[in-house]
């Protein structure tokens, strides 16, 4: 049976890389005794994957992990056993059964929501940040140049069209930006890229802005064409 676990990465777990998280899950399964299905072929590996790997340093309350087991098990029982096998800071929020399609659920992701906490060195800079955000939203397009990894060619990318919403809330001693951005294989934006644009507009360096980034949720398009949180996927 194929399952989807929604999980969270909290606190210091943000420093654990994608590769290490994969190993953590693999060993957690071993500890629970839940046997995963393996791929066939010369070097079989367990059928499991993490959707849209999170950048090092980000926390998340909307991570997803899909896998296939050898036996059919109650999803809630899986969730509980995995939760017990994990160290503090990695929590299993829900587990649902997925249709056994070829395509990974992670490949259906189109959007990601992020909470970005921003702390600035000087109080007057908060106003500048709001201005920079307003400027960004008022632009028809904001182009950045990106060097292609493989070819080394420079590609122009419009960041503006990838940002679907950007709201700013004042908190006690920081600003909270709520972002809805393209996420997925077709179009993707790492919030850090947007922050860099805002910093350039404000004329400050990375060292003058302390940030905390948390992924809140990821969405996919349902059969009916609506954008739904991944855990509602059938």
């Amino acid at each position: 049976m194929k399952y989807l676990i929604k999980w969270s990465k909290e606190g210091d777990m943000r420093y654990i890389s994608h590769l290490d998280i994969m190993r953590l899950f693999q060993r957690a399964f071993k500890r629970t005794g839940i046997r995963l299905k393996y791929t066939e072929g010369y070097s079989p590996h367990p059928k499991m994957s993490i959707a849209q790997p999170l950048s090092l340093g980000y926390t998340s309350r909307g991570e997803y992990f899909e896998f296939e087991t050898q036996e059919d098990l109650d999803p809630e029982a899986i969730r509980q056993r995995m939760e017990d096998a994990m160290p503090e800071g990695i929590r299993m929020l829900s587990c649902t059964v997925l249709k056994e399609t070829k395509k990974a659920a992670g490949a259906l992701i189109t959007r990601g929501d992020y909470d970005v906490g921003v702390r600035l060195a000087k109080p007057e800079e908060y106003e500048k940040l709001r201005e920079a955000a307003d400027w960004f939203l008022s632009q028809p397009s904001v182009i950045i140049q990106k060097v292609q990894k493989k070819s080394g060619k420079i590609k122009e990318i419009d960041i503006r069209e990838k940002v679907r919403a950007l709201e700013i809330d004042s908190q006690d001693d920081y600003l909270l930006m709520k972002l809805k951005v393209d996420t997925g294989s077709a179009s993707n934006l790492n919030p850090e890229v947007l922050l860099q644009i805002l910093r350039e507009r404000m004329g400050i360096s990375g060292g003058e802005m302390e940030t905390r980034i948390e992924r809140a949720e990821m969405y996919a398009e349902s059969a009916e064409g609506a954008e739904i949180p991944l855990y509602l996927l059938k």
Partner: protein
């Protein structure tokens, strides 16, 4: 979003994203122990003076972590040496050395314990003390600083680092640490000054408090006398050992790292000690006598450990697997267990007989890594001198068998600079490689895929061995010998040669037999920037030599001198249970080329059984 437990935690959070592998510095791994503050009355920061990946692979530390945390009100926390990138940031941001479990400064702990397994780690020990914000010399530290207690194999000669430690724990730590904690509990309740705790430690067997002893020297630099400065300090500090391996604590839920480490797998120690009596080998002497864990207990540990960790690989640990008395039964059983639970197995140092070939044939990956022989010396004559019980006939017949079974690679370990070694013995190294090559040709008709790896290390005379009095070769001699072997091996294209760095071996030799006068040299070396000396990319020989010059200490005095039998040795205070007379007679037998049999075939009267049961 920006909440932190403490200012220190905030600084750490801001810094670790700027360094390589932040996961080294954050803790939080599976089975890491963190007790509620109000339940903890004593804190031990346990330090390992090398990188996280190395330290996490150290079984000794995992054992003592368990032993200490098994005491309800004790919190044992880990601390490893930060890599140079993080160290620079720590100094710049004023982040003191902190523990992974609670992210509190080491300086706030009651005890800063450090385990030292290798001479080249001593600068890291000092650097860690400095990073913790403490004075390196014990005498300069204050009443509010933690006690620094150093243990590990390197402390069988504690003198080069004697002035930095408040106390040393000599030998195996499982039993002694709970005793130390009891003394600490009493001392904390008493409110007495620190010195009273150190005096109390003298009541525990195996504890050495260096400030209670003073060394006097003769005009020629040798030791004239060791004087006690506290009359209740012991005259002789005998090592501590575990007598019964089955009841000894062993971690079944070790801390499982997030990042991959050197030995990222389940591990079970099957026995301690070795009976073979190789005369150069310190491990063979200091870990006497042999104590085995029963196959039943081993199996129990393995089952629990695999369940608790989810590791995909199991390794068994000892000085030589093949010497375990019930090795066939044990290995067969563990192999079955591993197969059932989808775990791969690695079996170091099996003896090469028909059973082990069967085993190795079953274990995947073995053929690729190849056969390994620790030959140590190139001639039977020299192997007799060092008492290495391996014959060329055995090597050749085992190689032939391996080749017939379809193996293609062999690794041979040798040493250069052994006492009484001649160029003929060195030429023997190439001869052995050639003979193996010819056997392969006989079996396969051609050289084809054969690969022979000859690894030559440099002989370093170590304390508490029969060879402790011998001078070490000079750099030039080592280099000449390496060249000699290299030229003889060169015509054989299938043979690859590697050898150890002579300068590193020299310094290792100097530190191994050093005395208290060397403490100031180590401080100077650290001041000059020496650290991670075991790492080729960091080791700076010139700086070390400058440190010796600046402090007026002659390194040759320690490494290149023939020490006298009647000299007081810097490590004479420390006992391994083996008599000095035994080392002496073994040294004499070496000079005569006589062998001493494996003591499983009859006791060789090394003396250990007067203190411990054999």
């Amino acid at each position: 979003m920006f909440e932190y437990q403490s200012e220190l935690e905030q600084k750490i959070a801001r810094s670790v994203m700027r360094v390589e592998k932040p996961a080294r510095y954050i803790g939080g791994e599976l089975h890491a122990v963190r007790k509620p503050y109000d339940r903890v009355s004593m804190r031990v920061a346990f330090g390992f003076p090398d990188l996280y990946e190395i330290g996490m692979s150290n079984l000794g530390l995992q054992i003592l972590y368990k032993v200490l945390n098994d005491i309800p009100d004790v919190q044992c926390e880990r601390v490893y040496a930060p890599d140079v990138d993080f160290e620079a940031i720590m100094r710049e941001e004023e982040i003191p050395l902190y523990t992974l479990e609670t992210k509190r400064a080491v300086k706030e702990a009651d005890i800063f314990a450090i385990t030292v397994g290798y001479e080249m780690l001593v600068t890291n020990v000092l650097n860690m003390i400095d990073l913790a914000g403490m004075e390196m010399y014990a005498k300069d530290r204050g009443e509010e600083d933690p006690f620094i207690i150093i243990g590990g194999p390197c402390t069988y000669n504690p003198e080069p680092i004697a002035e930095f430690a408040d106390a040393f724990s000599i030998g195996e730590g499982e039993e002694v640490w709970p005793e130390i904690m009891e003394k600490l509990r009493e001392w904390k309740a008493s409110g007495a000054p620190k010195i009273e705790f150190l005096k109390a430690l003298c009541e525990i067997e195996g504890m050495y408090v260096p400030r209670f002893y003073e060394f006097d020297y003769n005009g020629d630099g040798t030791i004239r006398e060791i004087r006690k400065l506290y009359d209740k300090a012991p005259d002789h500090i005998e090592k501590r050992i575990i007598r019964d391996m089955d009841s000894a604590p062993f971690p079944t839920s070790p801390v499982v790292p997030f990042i991959s480490t050197v030995h990222d797998r389940a591990v079970v120690e099957i026995f301690r000690g070795c009976t073979r009596g190789c005369r150069f080998c310190q491990a063979g002497m200091i870990y006497r006598p042999v104590r085995e864990r029963s196959p039943e207990k081993i199996r129990e540990i393995v089952e629990e450990q695999l369940k608790a960790t989810g590791y995909e690989e199991l390794s068994i640990l000892s000085l030589s697997t093949g010497d375990y008395s019930r090795v066939e039964e044990l290995v067969t059983d563990l192999m079955r267990l591993c197969r059932e639970s989808d775990v791969s197995m690695s079996l170091p140092s099996l003896r090469l007989d028909s059973f082990s070939f069967k085993v190795m044939d079953e274990i995947q990956g073995y053929k690729k890594s190849g056969l390994t022989f620790a030959v140590e010396a190139g001639s039977q004559r020299l192997r007799n001198v060092i008492n290495k019980d391996i014959t060329e006939e055995h090597i050749y017949s085992a190689s032939r068998q391996a080749f017939e079974l379809g193996w293609h690679s062999i690794k041979l370990y040798f040493m250069a600079g052994l006492p009484g070694e001649t160029d003929e013995d060195l030429a023997g190294i190439a001869d052995i490689a050639r003979n193996i090559m010819n056997i392969y040709k006989e079996v396969n008709g051609k050289i084809g895929r054969l690969s022979i790896h000859v690894s030559v290390s440099n002989f370093v005379p170590k304390p508490h061995t029969p060879f402790q009095w011998f001078p070490q070769d000079t750099d030039e001699e080592f280099s000449r010998k390496h060249e000699l072997v290299k030229n003889l091996i060169k015509p054989m294209k299938c043979v690859r040669l590697s050898y150890h760095d002579s300068a590193t071996s020299y310094l290792e030799g100097v530190l191994a037999r050093g005395d208290r006068r060397m403490c100031k040299t180590l401080v100077e070396a650290v001041r000059l920037g020496c650290k991670f000396d075991g790492w080729r990319e960091h080791f700076d020989y010139e700086k070390w030599m400058q440190a010796f010059r600046n402090t007026g200490v002659d390194p040759d005095f320690y490494a290149r001198r023939a020490w006298g039998y009647d000299e007081i040795l810097p490590w004479d205070l420390i006992g391994t249970g083996v008599d000095k007379e035994f080392y002496l007679s073994e040294n004499e037998k070496a000079r005569r080329g006589e062998i001493t049999k494996d003591c499983r075939e009859g006791c060789q009267l090394c003396g250990v059984n007067r203190v411990f049961d054999c």
